[in-house]
Amino acid sequence: MKYAVFLGCTIPSRQINYEQSSRAVAKSLGIELVDVGFGCCGFPIEPIDQVKAISMAAMNLKKGEEARLDVVALCPACGEMLMKAADILGKDETTVKNVNNLLSKHVGSEYRGENPRVIHFARMLYEDFGTDKIKNLVKHPLTGLKIATHPGCHYVRPSSLNEGFDDPEFPHSLDELVEATGAESVDYINKNYCCGGSILAVREGVAKAMARKKLEVLTEVGVDALVLICPFCGIMYDRYQKLMNTELERKFNIPILYYPQLLGIALGIDPEELGFDVNSISVSGLLEKVGV
């Protein structure tokens, strides 16, 4: 199995624990991830200028197609932006015209319907690799761990871009991936709610309160970790958990793991290779609990 890996802006600079663990897991599973020179997906500036955002996505789609590989995105917002751009460019001639005006004038290129398959890393593990195969490769079952999953917004929604994959209201693929490691995936209220990350730059207070709500619920439920698959969710629940601990009376202590970090432990990968030093909330208790 071989894919063009789409890292986006946030992961290779701010959340390299996600990248490091994803590469380590892919290597261990025999999945080749190729870097083909992608750039920003466009998502961050879509609110300001959608034509520019779609132009960026279009150039990335071209690179994926030129490499003749399926594109695997670590960031669900990047993945969604690429899928959405391909969808809009396939339907809306005005946008194609606007995008191609911009691209021919400023980049010397043109979008010609390039439309490689784009999927999220977790979906790739779930659909292309398969949970049964993962189960067979687990060397260190995480039996006894109580895990909450946070699927986030762009992994399964909008369903119009993810036809036939999972459920927009009650997503379960990430839970199955967690259970493939031997851990238990526990249910909790408003699991499919947003972390608030995308409004951090608009109203920090609201964004933090959104993240805090989930941390409060999970503290009630009592979990060993929250497992997620999006760098913005990671920043909100991990970094901001630590920050909120310095601001609030109530202290949270919920380790936040990227799914590949959890899977990596189960596959017997050296924790040094899984980037735990970057995590803001210490995972040492969890590692002790599973005996690594």
């Binding site: 390299i16 961050p44 608009v202 959104m210 980037g275």
Partner: protein
């Protein structure tokens, strides 16, 4: 009962704004919004910030009341979570409407400065978070492959028309 939030003055309808919306809306169906409020009930931002009301934003936009839509930061508070989009019985696609409204506001220079800055970041670095020497060293230490520090096609697109 306080009605001030519900009553609007339709003498302020902006027909140019309505025409622009009609042109830009693409696959969303703003005109079909029948004000059921399912979007409000589904909204995680509303859960925290009671003043945020996607139903009302749809109503004001549909009526062409541009000044009222843009008079506060509400259109920027939608987190693009798509919960309402999944549940809206009329396939209005509120987050897509928000994007169109945001683009119109940005054109008029009334976007949050933090978001405007992102375009400059992308034209300067080709990335929202630059890859500096420190990060390059950290990546090398961890055995991570080199990435293109400044993708030039992104810089050119971000710079276009500036």
């Amino acid at each position: 009962m306080k009605l001030s939030g519900a009553v609007v003055d339709i003498s302020k309808v902006d027909t140019r704004f309505l025409r622009k919306l009609a042109r830009e809306l693409g696959s969303s169906n703003l005109s079909k919004c029948f004000q059921c409020g399912v979007c409000v009930a589904s909204c995680p931002v509303r859960w925290i910030e009671a003043e945020f009301n996607p139903r009302r934003i749809m109503k004001l936009a549909k009526l062409g009341l541009k000044d009222l839509v843009l008079q506060n930061d509400f259109i920027w508070l939608c987190s693009m979570c798509f919960m309402c989009q999944e549940r809206c019985p009329q396939d209005v696609r509120p987050p897509e409407v928000m994007t169109v409204l945001r683009n119109i506001a940005a054109e008029e220079g009334i976007a949050p400065p933090n978001l405007m800055k992102l375009v400059d970041m992308l034209s300067e670095n080709g990335r929202v978070y630059p890859i500096d020497d420190f990060i390059e060293d950290e990546r090398a230490d961890k055995g991570l492959p080199e990435v293109v520090a400044k993708p030039d096609f992104i810089m050119k697109i971000a710079e276009a028309g500036k």
